[in-house]
Structures are given as C-alpha cells and as structure tokens.
C-alpha cells in the first residue's frame, strides 16, 4: 500500500453527545502533516489515565479536612471549639475539641482507606499492558502512557484501552467482532468495519508508515476530501474484541475523555432517607439549642437586674468585666450558653453512624448465604452509606436478561408429530423418545415419521444466524458438550445457539458457513452441504396447530419456555427461482418496498407444513420467582425494565411470578396507542384501576390489603416517551400524573423495549413522584448503569460478562436471589439498627444536657456546668458509645430465618416507620422526662440535708456526679431494654461499659492528677458511694426513668402489637399472615378465576404464536424450504388457538 498517502478522515459529531466530542485534529501515528498543509497546532489531550480516586498523597490532609468541614455538623463543632478557645466559656475547649478530633480522624482514616482502594483499582487499570506501533515496530507499554494519535494493536479477547478508530484487522474484509457486554450489557457480537482506505494495512510496518489525519468535531466546515467516519469505525474503550485475531486502531479519545469515563462521572453522592431524617432531627435540636441559650441569656439578664444578684459582695467582678459593653456581654453569654448546651447535638453520632455503616457492611460481604459457589463471588459493598436504605425499598426496578434470567439458553425438548425428544436422554447418539409421562399418538415412528424427524433436525440445524468459531483454545465460553466437534457457536441470539447445540446433541452438527454453503454433519457422519440463502425476514403468520403439538407448546409456554414451531415447504426449482426474483424485485423497489416485500413473503409462506415445535429455556435465575414473590409480599412493587420484546418479557414475568394468573394486565403499548389516542388509553386505564381501588377503600379499613385484585401494567418504550414528552400546551405533567396514578395501583409493571436512558427516566419519574418512594434498581449489564445510578439504591448483579453494573452499583450481588436476603434480612436489620442508633443518640443527649439547662435556674444562670469536664468529654465518646455501636451492629429483633420466612415483616419498617416524627417526639419526651427525674431526684436528695452518716456535706460536684451516674446507668439500661439479641458480646459491652464508668470514676477521683489545675473531682465519686442514700437514690431514679418506657413497651405489645411483635410473641404463625397480605392467597379462592377479567387477556396472549426464524435454503436432498415458528409466553393452558399468528423469518 501507498504508505505516504494522506488520508483525511472526518468524524462527525454525534447528536446529543456534545460533551464528548469536541473539535480535534489527530495525526495518526503522530506524523505531522506534509508541508503545505495548514499550520500544525499541537493540541494537548489528557493521557490515558483513568482517575477515580479523590485524593493524592499530598493533598489528602488539606482536601479531606476541607471536605469534612463542609459537613454542617462538623463545621458546627469547629465553630463551637473556636468559640471555646476565644471566649471565656464554662467548659474547656478540650470537651468539644477532643471528640471533634476523634470524629475527624476516624472519618479521615475511613476515607483514606477507601481512596487507597480506589488508587489500587486505578493503578491496576492504568498499568495493564497495551501494544503500540512505534516506527513500524510493536512496543509494549502501560495503558496510561497511551496518547491520542497512537496506533494501538488489540488482540482477541482484549479490551480496547481507549476509544479507537478502527484502521484495519487481520481479516480480509476489514471487519472485526466486538462485544460491548461491559458497556451496554449486550453480549452479542457486533461487526465493526475498518476505514476503507486503511483496511489493507495489515502489518506493523505498513501501519507504521501510514499518514492520515482525523478531523472531528463541530467545525462543520469539513473539507470535501475528508472521508466521513461513522460509529461503525469507532471502537469504544471497555468493549472486547472477539473472534478476530488482531486489529489496529488509532487512539482518538483517551483517559478521562473516553466515552466510558465520561459516563462514569455522572455518579453522584447518594444519601439515605435515614440521613435525611437525621438532618431534620438535627435542625430541630439546633432550634432547641438556640432557644435554650436564648431563654437562659434573657433570664440571666432579667435575674441580674438587681445588682445584689449581679454582683453580690462575695462575688465581685473585675474592673474590665464591669466596663464591658452590655450587648457584648450578652452576646458572650449567649455563646457561652451555646457552648454549654452544644452537647445536645451529638458530635459522636456522626462518627458512630459512620462506623456502624462501615463495619456493618461487612456482614453483607461475610454472608455465606449470599456467596455464590459457582462463580466464587460474594457480595460486594461499594458504598456503605446506604445500608439502611435496603430496609426501606418500596420500588424495585429490575432488568430482565441476566438479572431475572440467566441469559443462558438451553434447548429443553422438541416435539415432532407425536414424539417428544429431550436432548439429555440420548444414549450413544441414539435418540430415544422420552417414554414416561407423555402420551404419544404413535409410539413406533413410521418411515415417514423418521423422515420428518430428520427434516426437523436439519431445519433447526440450518435456519439460524449462528457463526462458528474454530476452537483452538481449550476452554471457550460455549464449548459444545460432546468433545467430538470442537467448535463454538456464536450468535447475537442465544436462542439460536441453544437450538443448534441441542440439535447437535440429537445427532446433527452444524459445521460452518463456507463459500455460501452451509455444512452440517448428519447422524451417519456424512457432511451435507446446502446453499445459503441470505434471505431473512420476520413476520407473523397465522397457523393452525394440530392437537398434540398445541398442547405441548402450551404446556411448555406455561412453564416459561420459549417455544418455536418449525414448518417447511417444498419448492421445486421454478418456484424457487420465481420467489428469488420476486424478492429481489421487492428489495430493489424504490417505492413501497415494505409493502412489496410483505407481499412476496405472503406468497412464500403459504401452505407450510408443520414439522414440530421446540422449547428453549432461558433459565430463570435460581429462585427468581421465589425472590420476587417474597419481595412482593414484603410490600415492594417490582418493575421489570427490559429492552426485550413484550412477549418474551411477559413470559418471563409470568415465569417468575411477577404476574400471576389472577393479575389483570393493563397494556400501554405503541400498538394500543396507534389504535386509540394516548389520552384515551390513559384515561381508560386509570378508570379501570381507580374504580377498583375506590371500591377497595372500604376493605382497606377493615384491614384487608388493597392488592387482593392486583394489576399488572405493560408499557413499552415508545409509549413511555410519548407520556414523558412535554405537550405543546405545557401541561406535560398531566399525563405523567395520570401514568403515575395507574402505576401506583399496579403491583407489578413491565416496561419493555426500553433504552438504557429510558430506564433511568422511569426510575426518576417514580423517585420524584408525590410520595418520594425509595427505589432500588438491580441489573447486570452496562445498560442498567444509568438506572442503577439514578435509583436510591443501585444493585449490580455480578454478571458473567462485564462488571460495569457491579462497579457502578452501591452493592453487588452474585445472583438475583440474593436480593431477598439483602433486603428482607440485612436491609431490615440495618434499618432497625440505625434508626435505634439515631433516636438513641438524640435521647441520650437530651438526658445529658437537659439537667444542665435546669441547673442554670439554680446557679443564677451563670453557665455553671453540672458535670465535670472529664464526664462532659467522655460521656459520648466512651461511657455510652460502645453499647449503642454494638447494638447497631448486632441487634436482631427477630431471627434471620423468621425474617426470610415471613417477608411481610418488612412492611413494619416501611416508610421510615421508626424515624417518624411521632417516634422522634416520643424519644425526646422520654429524654426530657428522664432528665427531669435525674435532676430533681438529685435536687430533692441534696436539698437542705446531709446524706452521709458522718454528717458531712456534699458539694456541687457530688450533685453533678450523682445526676451523671444515674444518667449513665439509665441510658445504658434503656439500651439493654431495647436489646433483643443478647450475645456474650452484648453482655460484655453493656455491663463492661457500666463497669468502665465506675472504674474510671474511681480512678479519676481517686488520684490527684498532677496535670490538672483543679482537683474538684477528688474523692467525689467515692464519697458519694459511701453514702447509703446515694445508692438508694440511684436505684430509685433509674427505676423511675425506665418505668414509663417499660410500661409503654408492655402495653403496646399487649394492646397494639405490630406484626413484628406478634412474631416475637410467637402467637402468630406465618400461615395467617400470608393470606392476610399477599395477593397470592387469592389464588386459593375458587371464585376468583372465573370472575377475574385477566383470564381474558391471557387467552388472547396464548393464541398469539410468533415465528422467529425461518431461512430458506436450496439443497439437493431434503425439502427446500423450512420455517420455524416460535411460540411465546402465557400460562393459561385451557384455551385453544384456532388462528395463531406466526412470525416468519427467512
């Protein structure tokens, strides 16, 4: 080839991807243009480094500190700390500085660790080797050193290191096959084409000598001699080269500019609902704090208005204090009160919550039940911020292929005339009709039958688009099971692969497509060759199925198998030529091409003779149906979002029990909208749904669940975009509202024909609907990434190919079935735990600070602290921190097995039930009550008397210590009361923490600490313990404090038990509960099937027989034309199909 030729290529800007494609000029192989071309302006592009980490070694401390102090709470504590440093406040700066330091350090360590992991992942990616062409030679370099303009060589099964323009491949036709499984989840092989002018450059030397310029971008004024490039010339980073030995390409986008990286960046911070309520509570407490400080400041100045109180003779002020401005004084007092009460906002709550989430998430990764033996993968936790959100899910959006199903088709059986063949009951190549359980019309196949049978297998063997990959390496992904023929089948349709493989096991092996002849190996090990007709079309055909096959097909369909009918037609030479002509004419027709083609097909597809039917199983993932059923019982609405056809998707939905027999299906599809206007359809549907729900409100009152009659909605992508499209008159929300209304009434929704972005759109629509439900998206492919990122919780199924979804998700699980334990057990636990954590933290800080507030009324509003500095500092970070942390890690209010067995318990915590304002107010009031008990209990104890037997008097520090001791015991015992799951660790931590308090106090008061400039706690605690009444008071006050809570617990459990409590009591078995809540129960009622209108829908579905693949071929021996028909879906077996539609493909 002419190496010095200048090739000018232009790469158009794709619509809607403005941020991706900028204007750039690339000189392939960094060869500058020949003199005379316009001036060369070197452009700077980023290198091929992928950076997902946030910090570097150097900027970690400043950047992390900055990030942390952007959190309102941390900033607040910083301010408090600074105030303490600057003005004279009642507590030493240590009391808030130490906890703050602790919090910041722990968070920084956690974030640093996470970032280190990200660095490691980045490095692994950036350092993987890449082959370059440099000066005509092959060079290996690290991926990060790749630059725009470099020529890259990619070998088979390697992923592209950056976005490339495809220059040439070792294939003669300049094509290559690519799977984009890790990008969009499509595992099929896509063909990409090399640039025409360069496809001849096969060797390193040739390609090294290439002179070419690529222009891309919005310039618009591209010169005419530039050759346009399209997306078929573009190989994206992340895609994998398949079935092609090697290709050459030139890097045009690298590093963070690749499409994949740009897609990454949309990842945003998700916050859980618990965190939101936490912040709301925090604001309430902030208001309480400010009002407390204000009240005290005002009261102080009112109280001090009499000079003998402000400055009695025994307590004179200094001269400078006297001269200070009144307002300044008042302001400092206000700040001092703020500092005094600032502990009401629990500084350690954040760090405890963070630690709880971080440590708690390990229980997910550790869970053996969620470990997949097959793949050796366990669950992954990518963010621990959303643990509790798993217990709050109201909507699940799930992908179908690869998530619900295994995306692993398997040929189950075929049925020819009266015989059913099952591939795995083959002995020594001998086909045995399955003998048991099937009634056969004719048990001994006649000669005619045998001929039919072989015809059927040949048809299956030939009517497909499967490519054969010669298998050199030992382990291919789809190695044929019997080692005789070592070839691997590849196709964009997994069904076809399954069929060809199945037929192989029945004795017919498809060998290859060679020079327009298809070769197959028959049972006698003879190679047969057939002319390959590149005719292919899809159409639906009506057919009449004979009794036996129909029954069989329906049976299979009920089981969720994908069925296909095969039919043939014998063509003589003249007929064949006539058809060819007809088709050719139709194909080249300039006008009405579609119509003409249809007419031609109509002619061919007449008088087909049915051979039999096949059944292919897209195996549902293990326990998918069970999982979905459990999730629905748990009150979660499950939506299936898929790119698949409606029929296929619906079949899967039935198979996995998303739709049940009594589910009334509502259709909102393009077809229906074509018939009626969108407006009418929507209103009609909403009428159906609302009428029903209206009549159910009465039942709702009587405690019956509204979804006795459940609806399923089917919507397709086109219809959805119509709904989402804003209308001209601006009333766009109208349809949306209506649509949402319908969706809310449906227990299951199936969205088919969805583009990835539409999936996200749906999630967004629900997410921002009126009730702001918590959504969860689960998927395995990159086409699910958008919805995974959009949903509150994104779960990736660790797929066979591509971990894109798993990487972008918040949690990754090996199998769909693990979702059940993830939500029903882990989610439930996390939610219970964290809500208790949050409420408890506020409670214990009310207990802590409210006595201080009360004390101000008895110390002349002088900001005197009730507790010693050490107690103030350590209360939150050591005396009461560990029990709640441990509780929040270990608590199991119900056993794991019960939670799994009885999904309805999930409803008990739905809608943030444990963090509602009512609960919050209860906890706060409880805290206030306890604080009043502590303070006034101690007050009446100490009022005007001595409490020791030696007549000596206690001082203010003993008073505070008594309050503090009662408080520590009360709040710890309160937690003990709430603990339902006492392992030895709980015992150890709860009693240990009380013991620690006592030991610490003994030590703290038992020694004159030389580093302290005050010794006010010296022997205070011990002296207190030497007094009998103090012991009695502690017992009494702790009892009084706990009494109302115990009373409330016992009464609520007895009078208004929640489902959870019933289960705990053991008085309610799961049996009743099932029937109470789940729609499944209605299956048992015999009246339902007859009355429910859904049966009608069903029957229409079952009549629709679709034929998917049909390929004509000419051969010497067998009949010339074959056709297959695929039957989809449906589970209602009791309907005949006198006029089924059949779809044909030639």
């Amino acid at each position: 080839p002419d190496c010095s030729r200048l090739i000018l290529l232009s790469f158009p800007q794709c619509a809607g991807e403005e941020n991706w494609v900028d204007s750039r000029t690339i000189y392939v192989g960094h060869r500058e243009p020949p003199p005379g071309a316009e001036a060369y302006i070197p452009q700077r592009y980023p290198d091929n480094r992928i950076v997902s980490s946030k910090y570097t070694f150097w900027n970690f401390i400043p950047k992390n500190l900055f990030e942390q102090f952007r959190r309102v709470a941390n900033f607040y504590f910083l301010i408090i700390f600074l105030v303490q440093l600057i003005i004279d406040t009642p507590t030493s700066p240590v009391t808030s500085g130490l906890p703050l330091f602790f919090v910041i350090t722990v968070t920084a360590i956690k974030q640093g660790y996470e970032d280190w992991l990200r660095h490691k992942a980045d490095n692994a990616m950036n350092q993987c080797p890449v082959h370059f062409i440099q000066h005509g030679k092959l060079v290996r370099k690290q991926s990060r050193k790749l630059r725009v303009g470099d020529i890259v060589m990619v070998k088979e099964d390697e992923t592209f290191p950056c976005d490339l323009i495809f220059l040439s491949s070792n294939r003669g036709d300049g094509t290559c096959h690519v799977t984009t499984a890790s990008l969009d989840g499509e595992s099929s092989h896509k063909t990409h084409y090399a640039v025409q002018d360069t496809k001849g450059f096969h060797t390193e030397e040739d390609i090294g000598g290439l002179h070419a310029t690529i222009e891309s971008g919005a310039s618009g004024s591209l010169e005419t001699d530039f050759m346009p490039l399209g997306s078929e010339n573009l190989l994206l980073r992340g895609a994998t080269l398949k079935n092609t030995e090697k290709i050459f390409g030139v890097a045009i986008y690298t590093g963070m500019e690749t499409k994949m990286a740009l897609n990454y960046q949309s990842k945003s911070q998700k916050r859980s609902a618990v965190e939101k309520s936490m912040n709301a509570f925090l604001i309430v407490y902030l208001c309480i704090l400010i009002s407390k400080a204000l009240i005290n400041t005002v009261l102080k100045y009112v109280w001090q208005s009499e000079p003998f109180r402000d400055e009695p003779w025994y307590n004179q002020k200094t001269e400078s204090e006297r001269q200070r401005n009144l307002f300044l004084r008042a302001f400092t007092d206000f700040l001092a009160f703020m500092v005094l009460f600032n502990y009401i906002i629990p500084v350690s709550m954040y760090v405890t919550v963070e630690m709880q989430k971080f440590l708690g998430s390990y229980f997910i990764t550790w869970d053996e039940d969620m470990f997949d033996e097959e793949t050796g993968e366990g669950p992954l936790v990518n963010t621990s911020d959303l643990n509790e959100e798993l217990g709050q899910v109201e909507y699940i959006f799930t992908d179908k292929t690869g998530t619900l199903t295994e995306n692993n088709m398997e040929f189950k059986e075929c049925c020819i005339e009266g015989h059913v063949y099952v591939p795995h009951v083959i002995c020594n190549g001998q086909v045995l009709p399955e003998s048991s359980g099937i009634d056969m019309i004719d048990s001994s196949p006649s000669v005619n039958g045998r001929e039919r049978e072989e015809l059927f297998f040949r048809a299956l063997c030939l009517c497909h688009t499967v490519q054969v990959k010669d298998n050199d390496s030992v382990d291919g992904p789809r190695k044929s099971p019997d080692g005789g023929a070592s070839c691997v089948y590849i196709s964009s349709s997994p069904d076809e692969v399954a069929l060809v493989e199945g037929v192989q096991r029945l004795g017919f092996t498809y060998l290859r497509l060679k020079d327009n002849y298809m070769e197959l190996l028959n049972r006698e090990n003879h190679v047969e060759r057939y002319v390959h007709l590149a005719l292919r079309w899809k159409r639906q055909v009506l057919c009449v199925l004979p009794q036996f096959i129909r029954a069989r097909v329906e049976r299979n369909a009920v089981e969720g198998l994908r069925t296909l009918c095969v039919a043939y037609k014998r063509l003589i030479q003249e007929e064949y030529e006539g058809i060819c002509k007809l088709l050719q004419a139709a194909k080249v027709a300039l006008q009405d091409r579609e119509k003409k083609l249809a007419e031609a097909y109509e002619q061919i597809e007449k008088d087909l003779i049915l051979l039999g039917a096949t059944a292919v199983e897209d195996r549902l993932q293990e326990k998918a149906a069970d999982t979905i059923e459990a999730l629905q019982k748990a009150g979660i609405k499950v939506w299936v979002l898929t790119g698949d056809k409606m029929e296929t998707a619906a079949a899967t939905c039935y198979a996995c029990k998303l739709f049940r027999r009594n589910t009334q299906l509502l259709e909102l599809t393009t077809k229906r909208i074509e018939e009626q206007s969108l407006h009418d359809v929507l209103f009609e549907l909403s009428k159906t749904v609302l009428r029903h729900s209206g009549s159910l409100t009465r039942d709702n009152f009587s405690g019956l669940s509204a979804d006795m009659q459940d609806y399923g909605l089917i919507i397709d992508g086109a219809a959805l975009s119509l709904i989402m499209k804003p209308r001209e008159d601006g009333s766009s929300s109208n349809y949306r509202e209506l649509f949402l209304e319908i969706c809310r009434s449906c227990s299951a929704v199936l969205c088919c024909r969805m583009a990835p972005l539409q999936k996200a759109q749906i999630v967004k629509l629900i997410k921002f609907s009126k009730e702001h439900p918590i959504t969860l998206a689960v998927g395995d492919g990159a086409n699910d990434v958008s919805m995974i990122l959009e949903a509150h919780v994104g779960i990736g199924v660790i797929g066979k190919e591509g971990r894109q979804a798993a990487r972008n998700s918040d949690y990754a699980i090996p199998k769909f079935k693990h979702l059940k334990k993830m939500l029903l057990v882990h989610g439930h636990f996390y939610y219970i735990r964290i809500s208790e954590l949050v409420q408890y933290f506020f409670y214990k800080n009310v207990c802590f600070i409210f006595p201080q507030f009360l004390y101000q009324f008895f110390c002349g509003f002088s900001q005197q602290t009730l507790y010693d500095t050490a107690y103030l500092t350590l209360y939150n970070i050591s005396f009461t921190s560990l029990p709640i942390l441990l509780y929040s890690l270990m608590e199991q209010h119900i056993g794991i097995d019960v939670l799994k067995r009885d999904p309805t318990l999930y409803r008990d915590v739905a809608k943030n039930a444990l963090l509602r304002w009512r609960v919050f107010i209860y906890w706060t009031l409880l805290g206030l009550f306890d604080a009043l008990v502590f303070f006034f209990g101690a007050y009446f104890m100490f009022e005007n008397t001595t409490v020791t037997s030696n007549g000596q008097i206690f001082g203010n520090w003993t008073f505070g210590t008594l309050v503090f001791t009662v408080m520590v015991f009360t709040v710890t015992l309160k937690l003990a009361l709430d603990t339902h799951y006492w392992t030895w660790i709980n015992h150890f931590v709860i009693w240990g923490s009380l013991l620690f308090y006592v030991v610490f106090s003994l030590l703290w008061g038992g020694v004159i600490w030389p580093f302290l400039n005050y010794q006010r706690m010296y022997y205070v605690f011990i002296q207190m313990l030497s007094s009998g009444p103090a012991w009695l008071a502690i017992v009494l006050l702790v009892t009084i404090s706990l009494l109302p809570d115990v009373l409330k617990k016992v009464l609520c459990r007895q009078l208004w038990p929640t489902a959870t409590e019933r289960v705990q009591n053991g008085c309610a078995q799961p049996r009743d509960r099932d029937s109470e809540f789940t729609p499944l129960a209605s299956l048992q009622s015999p009246g339902y099937q007859s009355t429910c209108p859904s049966a009608a829908w069903y029957s229409s579905r079952s009549q629709q027989v679709t034929l998917a693949a049909w390929k004509g071929k000419v051969s010497v021996e067998p009949p010339p034309a074959l056709s297959g028909s695929r039957h989809h879906c449906s589970s209602s077996p009791s309907h005949s199909c006198p006029g089924s539609r059949v779809q044909l493909l030639v």
């Binding site: 366990g378 794991i896 100490f942 007549g951 008085c1067």
Partner: protein
C-alpha cells in the same frame, strides 16, 4: 485439594457464627407475663424500703433557728441593723435561747445554713487556685487568673488563699451553753470542730505550703490575706493542725455547695456528757455575728440535727420509694386487667 478449591476458599467468607450473625443469644421479650411479676415484686420491695426510709427519716430530729436578724426576730436584729450598709460590718454578738423538753438524741450535729447564696455561680466557683491550696509555693506567689479580682491585693501582693470563695469565708462563730437547772449556770457544751471536713480534703487535697524555719507565718510571707479577712490565713486557729489552708472551717467552706440554699457542718457534739445527745434543759447559743447576708437577700440559720445511717432528715427518699412502689403495684394491676382482657380477645382472634 485442587487449585480451584483452595482458590474458592480464599474468597469464601469465614463461616463463623459471628460473621454469619448467628451467635448464640439470649432473646428476652418484655411481655406482660414477665413484666407483671416484675412490677409486683418491684412494687412490694419499694414499698417496704420506702416505709423503712420514711420512718428512719421521721426519727431524726432537727432544730433550726433563723438568726439573720430581721427586725423583731430576736436579739440578732441589733447586729443586723448595726452591720447594715457597712463593710466590713462591726463585730457584734447575739444569742439564741432555746430549751429542750427532752433529750435530743445524739450524736448531734451543728450546721449553719445560708440561703440565696450562690456558691455555685460559675464566676464564684472557679475563683480559686487548687494548686495554691495544695501548698505549691509557686502557686502561692502566683495565683491563677481565675482568682481575679481577688488575685492580687491593692498593694500588688498575691492573695493567699486567693479567689472569691476564700474571700467570702463564713466567719460567724457559735458556742453552745447548757443550763442544766432553771436559773443555774450555763455550762459550755464542747463542740468538736474537727472531722467536719472530708477526710481526703483535709489530709490530701489541702496542704499548707512548706514551713519556713518552722514557721507557717514565714511561709506566707509576701502574701496578703483576702480583703475581707480580719486575720491572715495562718492565724485562723492556734492549733497548728487546723490553721492555714488546712483549717477545717476553711476546707468545709471551700467545698462549694450545689444549690443556693445550703448547709455546712459547723461542729459535732459528741464529747463528755453530750455524747448521747443534748440532755433536757435550757440552752443558749452565743453567736458572733459577722457575716453579712442581708445585702443579697439571704438568711442565716443555725441547725441542730441528729443523724442516722441515712444522714439527716430527708423524707423525700422514703416518700419517693413509697410512691414509686405504689405506682408499680397500680400499673401492675392495670396491666393485669389489660392482660386478662387481651388474652380473651386474643383467643377470640385465634378462633
């Protein structure tokens, strides 16, 4: 063991009870059947305790006298009037006469009580130097800033003991006289002024600075007494074990009270004939009236009190125990009724 098996083992989580959240655990439930007996038991125990406490508190005798000197309340009003508006008030003495119809069961403790005196005011309560009080010579010369304005005297000398608390040391003194027979002589009742402070305060926390040439006075040389004091600190008592910072009155005073109304122990009566208590007869308390309280609306009281194992008279604990015990029993009954009725309903429900 094949390679794949070991590799899987590497990924597979540990199957321990802890990681699988299946640690053996006690799972108690706070159900009525447990709570009911608990309530009744607790209720009965509390009532029993409450009765005991109530009676033992009722057995304690208290005798108190307000000697503030509001006009017409006794002869201390003269002193109060004399001290009005003068700082420092002139020395004055008055007396309180009382008679005991029967034996005042001992041991008897003599307290003084101040009201409306905010020892717990923050500015007041921080105004001390614990290092100085522990006898540290450097702190003696350089009192902490918290002591201001009682840190340095007008002459610039460091004040020892510094701070507002020390400066406002209670300086009234009392002596008790007993008249055994009507018209007879008053005999002084010995007041034991030792052991009124915490043992640890007196022996450990408060220390005098090291003596200089065997003299405490020299040790305090170069310091000034607090402005309100009439005598320097080393002359608080002639007893060398009770003077300086380890004067018991001083130590008692330095333990700041929790509430604005507070008592402090003045003396114990346990010597000689009075160890069993104060016998029947007429008594006189001679009061040296120095301490001004009317300026801040306070009162001074003098209290004789006997002490039991549970301290002084305080009916609160007994009453609280009784109330809580009764409440427990009451709620126990309420719950019992609820429990029985609910059981019926529950049975219906089950059927």
């Amino acid at each position: 063991m094949t390679w794949s098996a070991t590799a899987r083992g590497a990924h597979q989580p540990d199957n321990t009870a802890f990681t699988q959240q299946r640690l053996p655990a006690w799972q108690p439930l706070l159900s009525a059947s447990i709570a009911l007996p608990l309530f009744f038991c607790a209720g009965l125990a509390f009532i029993g305790l409450g009765l005991g406490l109530y009676y033992s508190s009722n057995g304690i005798k208290e005798l108190e006298y307000d000697y503030t000197g509001d006009s017409g309340t006794g002869n201390c009003s003269v002193c109060a009037a004399a001290g009005q508006g003068r700082a420092p008030p002139p020395p004055c003495s008055c007396a309180w006469y009382f008679s005991l119809p029967e034996l005042f069961q001992g041991p008897v403790y003599l307290y003084y009580e101040l009201t409306n005196f905010y020892q717990n005011n923050r500015r007041y309560s921080v105004s001390r130097d614990d290092a100085q009080l522990s006898g540290l010579p450097s702190a003696l010369r350089h009192p902490v800033n918290e002591c201001a304005p009682y840190q340095l005297s007008a002459a610039g000398l460091p004040i020892a003991p510094c701070g507002a608390i020390a400066n406002s040391l209670f300086n009234d003194s009392f002596s008790l006289w007993h008249q055994r027979l009507p018209g007879g002589l008053y005999v002084e009742v010995p007041l034991d002024r030792s052991g009124i402070a915490w043992w640890t305060d007196y022996h450990v926390k408060f220390r005098n600075p090291p003596l200089v040439n065997g003299s405490l006075a020299l040790a305090f040389q170069g310091t000034a007494p607090p402005p309100n004091w009439r005598r320097p600190v080393y002359e608080l008592s002639p007893d060398p074990n009770n003077t300086g910072f380890i004067n018991q009155d001083f130590v008692v005073w330095m333990r700041t009270a929790a509430l604005p109304t507070f008592r402090k122990l003045y003396a114990r009566i346990r010597q000689g004939n009075y160890s069993a208590g104060l016998p029947r007869g007429a008594y006189r308390v001679n009061i040296t009236y120095n301490y001004p309280v009317r300026a801040f609306g306070g009162h001074k009281l003098l209290i004789f009190s006997s002490i039991s194992w549970m301290g002084g008279k305080n009916p609160f604990l007994g009453i609280a125990y009784l109330v809580v015990g009764s409440l427990c029993i009451l709620t126990g009954f309420v719950m019992l009724i609820v429990y029985i009725r609910y059981q019926d309903q529950d049975d219906d429900y089950e059927e």
